[in-house]
Amino acid sequence: MKAIKGILLTCDPAVKQILLAMDEKQKFIIDNLDDYHIVIKADDEYRVRLELEAELEKNTWTLE
């Protein structure tokens, strides 16, 4: 039996796909649990959040 320290991310499937794509560039995923859950390295959380936000931001437009 093994215990791995990490952070459990709960997200929707769309966000998970983005995370998987990001993982291909730089590994941070420890285990891909199911459609809604993923375990990542604790140290990478901040970076992943920033990158994810930048990625999601590409999909929004403003009137201004």
């Binding site: 039996m1 215990a3 459990l8 991310l9 403003t62």
Partner: protein
């Protein structure tokens, strides 16, 4: 009492007053001393819910105790939980001691409250007006010349009091709003700044105070709630400073029962209460002509502490904008605010991007960026919507629903967007040797309530960080046992 109360109470969805939980944590001794003052009894009575008030009124004029079963017979079955709840609250406040046989009000409370309603007594807990009778008694005491001159002046007008209260109060709020956007509004007194810091509404940041997320939420509340929030902090502080809590509370209650526009003498105040004068002056609760003045007048902020009338006057002619609704929100996210009050404009600027400003009108729009900024400051979507509803223009109130649904939904969606990723720290437990092993550890973790995710097919689960040491210990004990 039975049916009428039940209906009354279900309509009364207002949650209990913020002061009551604080009072409930006080000792019976403190509360009983507080109940010796009729004005405190009246004020607390006014803070209670309708049902609790009715129970007190039913018992107040009874000379002897009433048996619990007689009282309970009045209550219809559906309303029973409400009734029990009310009794529990009153018991915690030590107004109506819990008993399985007889119900009777706390004798101190009963005497004082009767006195509050019928008058009489010499406790002067409602404050002693200056310039009548009592001043004559003091004439013998030599006072400095200022004090004498002071006594001859007339009481301040309501306008003076109102504009003073508004000026003080808005200085505090302005200081909070201004700290967030880099502007430096006039600073309130050190005492106020200290209170803002200890209450967590503002945080020290590079030597200057910055508004915190609770501070942002605070700004969207009504003046009454804001005032009590600060006073509650003040009470906690008073406990730490070893001020007599009964003195502090009874002074606040005394203020809340005083008459607006009247001057009261400071001669009857205790030492603690005289010390409080300065603090309360800073908050705008009390007006004094001079610091050394022997008289003080309560402002509208303090006389409405325990009533439901607005804490700040809606009279015009002061710098404050209209108190009832002034915001019009359109389906195209445009927002029109009919106000000339810089504070209201600043609060609006917390979650809307403002475009133009006219003498009596501010135009802006609610955008994704502006709402995101608010959300990152710790304001929630519900708070924004609640603020818009409470300050909606009278014309908006004709609409049903009052705010455009599109805008409401969009604000909530923006909030959800921010929370697309939820993260929880912990440990992933995998590679169990057997299904039995897995289930054993999993059940143990479940008992501790630390399992965040599990999958029996993969034989792994995710436990929160708090549970790790326990689980580790559990496994170690087992492996030791097997050897």
């Amino acid at each position: 009492m039975p049916v009428a109360v039940a209906q009354d109470e279900t309509k009364d969805v207002k949650k209990e007053h913020v002061l009551l939980p604080f009072l409930q944590t006080q000792s019976q001794n403190t509360l009983t001393r507080l109940y010796q003052r009729p004005s405190s009894c009246l004020s607390i009575f006014r803070l209670l819910s309708a049902l609790e008030r009715q129970i007190i009124m039913n018992l107040l004029w009874l000379e002897s105790a009433i048996s619990v079963s007689t009282m309970a017979a009045w209550v219809v079955r559906e309303a029973r939980p409400l009734y029990d709840n009310a009794l529990a609250t009153l018991a915690r406040l030590h107004i109506l001691p819990q008993s399985t046989v007889k119900l009777a009000l706390n004798p101190t409370f009963k005497t004082s409250f009767r006195q509050a309603l019928t008058g009489g007594g010499t406790s002067s807990s409602f404050g002693v007006p200056a310039g009548e009778g009592h001043d004559k008694a003091q004439d013998g005491i030599p006072t400095d010349r200022d004090g004498r001159k002071d006594d001859k002046r007339n009481a301040p007008s309501l306008n003076t009091l109102d504009s003073y209260a508004i000026e003080r109060w808005e200085t505090i709020l302005h200081y909070m709003v201004g700290s967030g956007n880099g502007r430096r509004p006039p600073e309130p007194s050190p005492g106020v700044r200290f209170l803002l810091k200890t209450s967590g509404l503002m945080n020290e940041f590079h030597g200057s105070l910055q508004i915190s997320s609770t501070g942002f939420q605070f700004l969207l509340h009504s003046p009454h709630e804001q005032l009590w929030h600060l006073l509650l902090q003040y009470l906690h502080l008073a406990e730490q400073r070893r001020m007599d809590l009964v003195d502090v509370l009874s002074f606040l209650f005394m203020l809340s029962t005083m008459e607006l526009g009247r001057e009261y003498t400071v001669a009857n105040l205790t030492k603690t209460q005289s010390a409080m004068l300065e603090d309360l002056r800073d908050y705008g609760l009390i007006w004094q002509r001079k610091q050394s003045s022997r008289r003080f007048s309560p402002t509208r902020l303090s006389t409405t502490l325990t009533s439901c009338s607005p804490s700040l006057p809606n009279a015009t002619g002061t710098s404050s904008g209209p108190q009832e609704g002034f915001i019009v929100l359109e389906t195209n996210y445009r927002i029109y605010a009919y106000t000339d009050n810089p504070l209201q404009t600043a609060v609006l600027g917390l979650f809307a991007s403002l475009k133009c400003r006219f003498p009596n009108l501010v135009i802006g729009s609610i955008t994704r960026e502006s709402v995101k900024k608010a959300l990152s400051n710790g304001i929630t979507a519900d708070q924004i919507i609640a603020y818009l509803i409470t300050h909606a223009h009278p014309n908006m109130r004709k609409n049903n629903p009052m705010l455009p649904v599109t805008v409401q939904d969009q604000i909530r969606l923006w909030e959800l967007e921010k929370n697309r990723l939820k993260s929880q720290e912990g440990y992933l437990y995998t590679a169990f040797a057997s299904q039995a092993d897995y289930e054993l550890v999993l059940n143990y973790a479940k008992e501790l309530d630390v399992v965040l995710w599990e999958n029996a097919a993969k034989r792994c689960f995710f436990g929160s960080a708090e549970g790790h040491s326990n689980i580790k210990g559990f496994i170690e004990r087992r492996t030791m046992g097997q050897k």
